[in-house]
Symmetry: C2
Subunit: 342 residues, 2 copies
């Protein structure tokens, strides 16, 4: 794997700044118990992938000042992400995330729903707070940012809706699947890149950067699916074959189902139905995924998306790139997305 | 009771316009199942109280054009209200509302959470949609409207948080209670009145109208509490003593608890603990509420709030009132709020 030390170092700098902003601005409210519940998962960690995209994009297109201006937007996408995690954990009835019990495990379902709702509201509050302080922002930019978040929040809800409907079906086309993960995962990363462009007052590059984010977001999810079957549990921190055991409809399984035949097809069908539980069947399913070319297909697709995302950055005129290092970090991010082992 | 026929007729006109706007703009999305779940409670009816406040305020301050401009804001508050109902029903595990099974009873908790989330997102989408179409709106007004909704959504979540925390306590002061219902019920009606002023481009009257909405909202909730104990079930449609049986901490019970003594205090305490279940104890509790002066206190407080709300309208200069009928409807609304039997 390539050396991503520069990317990772910048990412931790950004994460610290965004966290400080979030804690100082939004964590202290009343009732305290509700705010504690709302910030429980946030405090437990996370990659801060989305804020990174906001901050790096802003810096690339507007330099250090835009990076600072982007803080409320970066905080907003992470607060929004936290809201979706809290609600998703309830929907999937998951017990742990980021090494801690999920919010509903500690506070119960009703309070966890509310904690998620509060994070959702605070994410919009953060966007709006961008209006006070910096003079770089006119209100049109902020409204543009609100609009971007609203669109993303509708897409994300729709994506989760499709994901849950797909659980009950086995005839999901993998193009349907790609459209679902665009909504569920891609849309918020697309919005993050757009928000970075808005923070830099480069709204004419909003769609271009949105396309970069969309591609990186989908590639990120495909890589996630791959690591779920072929990843090293000691690196990913997730039990092996977990997705297969749960009958999760990933690109790998859907592709394998389409291209397998005979006994193999039956095995993959049992996976799709969530009926394959024993280690041996799951291991065989993983082999079939490899043999049908599903793994290769998914890897290639993710890599092509990352390449296209990088090309988008390269096609942005040199005259509008304010910070080469930030651009390089976004190039590395696209590569990292598809090469990461965890 | 006074004659509210003018108010009720205008209310049904507004309700029809808002519903048409909502159905034509937001109801058709994919996945269809999710949109069906999101609009199930909306379609089941409701008073459309909040959209009425938006529309009548806009018309009072800006005439017919502002009333039309206010449609996206009116739709937004009702969509937001629908989101809170869906989530509240899950939290309270209620089976029926508006004569139909609650959303989670039909679609299950996970899908209902998501349906609420979608309504939440659509309410912001509706506000933002005000930018396209009418020329009356500049983007500053729309951002102002977004800000108003964001503040309300934080207050509403906090109010629900307090409400749930109060369930576990019996030492709730009735001033705490008033502050809770301001958040839970008042804040959205306050926002509705502010949105009406914004739609009429009378932002200087935003806070004034917000105060009107806040008072009407709190009075509305106090009247709700009174009807829950002393209302006629054939009119309210709710079983008698339901709130008492559930140990709901209303102004009536909290006031009675503070002012009762001896055996009476023990009965009210059993109500506060949610332990009073039999008809006889509940009937006696209602008597104590009357005897301690709690009923009179609550009625007077609600009436004073309605009077103050009306005075606020009367104090608005004649020169800025564009439509006397709309003003009269808002006066009637304040009266209706505290006199209604259902």
């Amino acid at each position: 794997m390539a050396d991503f030390s520069r990317l990772l170092s910048l990412a931790s700098t950004y994460a610290a700044r965004v966290d400080w902003f979030v804690y100082s601005k939004f964590e202290n409210g009343a009732p305290e118990e509700l705010y504690r519940a709302a910030f429980h998962l946030y405090r437990a960690g996370g990659k801060r992938f989305r804020p990174f995209v906001v901050m790096a994009t802003a810096r690339m297109l507007g330099g250090p000042q835009s990076e600072s201006d982007a803080l409320p937007f970066a905080a907003a996408v992470e607060l929004f992400h936290t809201y979706t995690l809290i609600h998703d954990d309830i929907m999937d009835d998951d017990d742990y995330r980021r090494g801690v019990p999920t919010t509903h495990r500690i506070w119960g379902v009703p309070y966890a729903i509310l904690a998620g709702d509060l994070d959702y509201a605070l994410s919009f509050k953060s966007i709006i707070s961008a209006g006070s302080g910096s003079e770089a922002f006119d209100r049109t930019c902020i409204l543009d940012a609100v609009e971007t978040m609203v669109e993303a929040s509708i897409r994300v809800a729709e994506g989760q809706g499709y994901d849950m409907l797909f659980e009950r079906r086995i005839d999901v086309d993998y193009h349907d699947y790609l459209s679902m993960i665009y909504r569920k995962t891609g849309a918020l990363i697309e919005a993050s890149a757009k928000l970075g462009a808005i923070a830099a007052c480069q709204t004419n590059l909003k769609e271009t950067m949105g396309e970069y984010g969309r591609l990186v977001g989908i590639a990120f999810q495909i890589r996630d699916d791959i690591l779920g079957v072929f990843g090293d549990p000691s690196k990913t921190g997730k039990p092996i074959y977990n997705d297969l055991r749960r009958g999760k409809k990933t690109l790998l399984v859907l592709y394998a189902y389409k291209h397998a035949a005979g006994e193999d097809k039956k095995i993959i069908e049992s996976v799709l139905r969530g009926e394959a539980r024993d280690e041996e069947t799951l291991r065989r399913a993983a082999e079939i995924i490899r043999e049908t070319g599903a793994l290769e297909y998914a890897e290639n697709l993710a890599r092509r998306m990352a390449d296209t995302a990088i090309k988008i950055l390269d096609d942005i005129g040199e005259d509008v790139i304010e910070d080469e290092d930030a651009k390089e970090a976004l190039v590395e991010l696209a590569r990292f997305t598809v090469e990461r082992e965890k």
